[in-house]
């Protein structure tokens, strides 16, 4: 987790932190929400799902927020990763596994299900089924974003996601370790690249104890 591209990104953010150009605070914390609500935070990076949660958590921001594509390191070769996402599973001891599977298929593929979801006003999940994207574009009430075609933007961005993008096998725990390091870096102890290295060091023993063969370079 400290190859050349990672070091480049870490150095970029380290400079922003050092020069006090970004706000350092835990995501979804009390302060985070307060700063969104009182307008002191002017922007943040997140996945498509964040559009709905912002509408819900910060109703006062209606008409003041818009969504922009992420900036690119090399505009000639745009590339993106993913953040967040949902999966649905049927447990082994389910009493109605087939019915459950049928419901899940309906839930993720049917226009009716998507309409119901969007009408809740808190979801802006990007549908996994491409055919549903036009439905979402039509159905989503985007008056919060002054009528911006947010699903159109999501669709453009989704096409840029690198097919080589993948998460590690213990990503939740890795992210927690990295975030702990970020928090310390923000408090003036350690650095962003140090936090990433720590995330790797703290993940390896877990993987090794599970019997996965791990190589580092």
């Amino acid at each position: 987790m400290d190859d050349a591209p990672t070091r480049k990104v870490a150095a970029y953010w380290q400079r922003l932190v050092d020069q006090d150009l970004v706000r350092v605070e835990p995501v979804d914390s009390q302060q985070w929400r307060a700063h969104l609500q009182n307008g002191e935070t002017v922007g943040y990076m997140a996945g498509a799902w964040a559009a709905g949660s912002l509408m819900n958590s910060t109703p006062g921001g209606k008409g003041k927020w818009a969504i922009a594509p992420l900036p690119q390191w090399d505009p000639a070769k745009p590339s993106l990763g993913t953040q967040g996402g949902s999966t649905f599973a049927v447990t082994k001891d389910s009493r109605h596994p087939e019915e459950a599977l049928e419901f899940i298929i309906w839930m993720v593929t049917s226009p009716d299900a998507l309409r119901a979801k969007l009408s809740s006003g808190i979801s802006s999940a990007y549908p996994a089924v491409p055919a549903l994207v036009p439905v979402a574009r039509k159905e989503m009430d985007t008056s919060y974003y002054s009528g911006q075609d947010i699903f159109g933007l999501f669709q453009q961005s989704a096409r840029l996601i690198s097919p080589r993008w993948q998460w590690g096998p213990r990503m939740t725990s890795t992210i927690t370790s990295v975030e702990d390091g970020f928090a310390k870096a923000g408090a003036g102890s350690g650095s962003i690249i140090g936090a990433l290295r720590q995330g790797e060091r703290r993940t390896l023993p877990d993987l090794k104890s599970l019997g996965l063969s791990v190589t580092t370079n």
Binding site: T172, S173, A183, A187, R202, K208, S209
Partner: protein, 321 residues
Amino acid sequence: MSTVLSEERTGTKPPAASAVRARRAGRRQQLLACVTLLAPFTALLVAVFLIPVGYSVYLSLFSQDHEGLGFGGGTTVFTGLRSYLAVLDDPSFRSGFGVIALYCVIFVPVVVLGALALALLLDSGLVRLRRTAQMMLYLPHAVPGIIAAVIWLYLYTPGLSPVIKLFAEADIHIDFLGLHTVLPAIVNIALWSGLGYNMVIFYAALQALPREVIEAARIDGAGGLRTALFVKVPIIRGSVVMVCMFALIGALQLFTEPTLMNQATPMVNSRYTPNMYIYDAAFRRNNYGLASAASVILLVVTCALSFAVTRWAGRRERSAR
């Protein structure tokens, strides 16, 4: 002892058969009493200590293996010391012991000296309303640890805490949950609940002191302070060692307070202490082998440290005599 025995033996006549029988019956009764009295303790020891320890050792030597993408059930395979090597290789597990060491360096001296000073003050009779004072000091110990931690967390959280607000009005800005203040903040919670309890232990030991020794010291011209420091404290050294050891074991098991702090500040990470590491491994990473190996290591370290402290104290006791 030997003289008594020989007297018995050389005494009048050999014991009659009835006496032997009576003695045998008495012995059987004794055995019965022993079994009855020890049974509840043994049952609990086996149920809540030996079986869990055995199960942990078993879990630590095995792992769940899944084929391919992880579909279908896993199979349990023997992995030997693989989890132990992984735990010992984990910097986040080792750093937990560093945190505990630092915690002990702050907590143990303060709690021992503080509780000792309070007990000596109460014992010297300088304090009025002795019973009320004792009660007030002991009361925090009656509050369950998790409730105490919640209350303290409220007092530590910026934006909620009346204490921080009060200081801020005097233009003093403190952050109880900062990088360097969070450990003292945890120590403070532990002190608050532990001071009174340990004071009671010391006070009880002081009450059991032979009064003539104190009187002798007074006649020899020792003042209250000298009597306390050079007569009372050396005599209750045993209690001091015991409190130190309990504080040490308690420190190794530190969990409740930092776990709660973990919700409030990123300065306390989810593997802050060895016990939190074990919880994280078992219930966040679902890695029972790793968690069990870490538990066994923690148990061994705790036993070794307790043994070392007892040995060290025993040697000092002997050399002092």
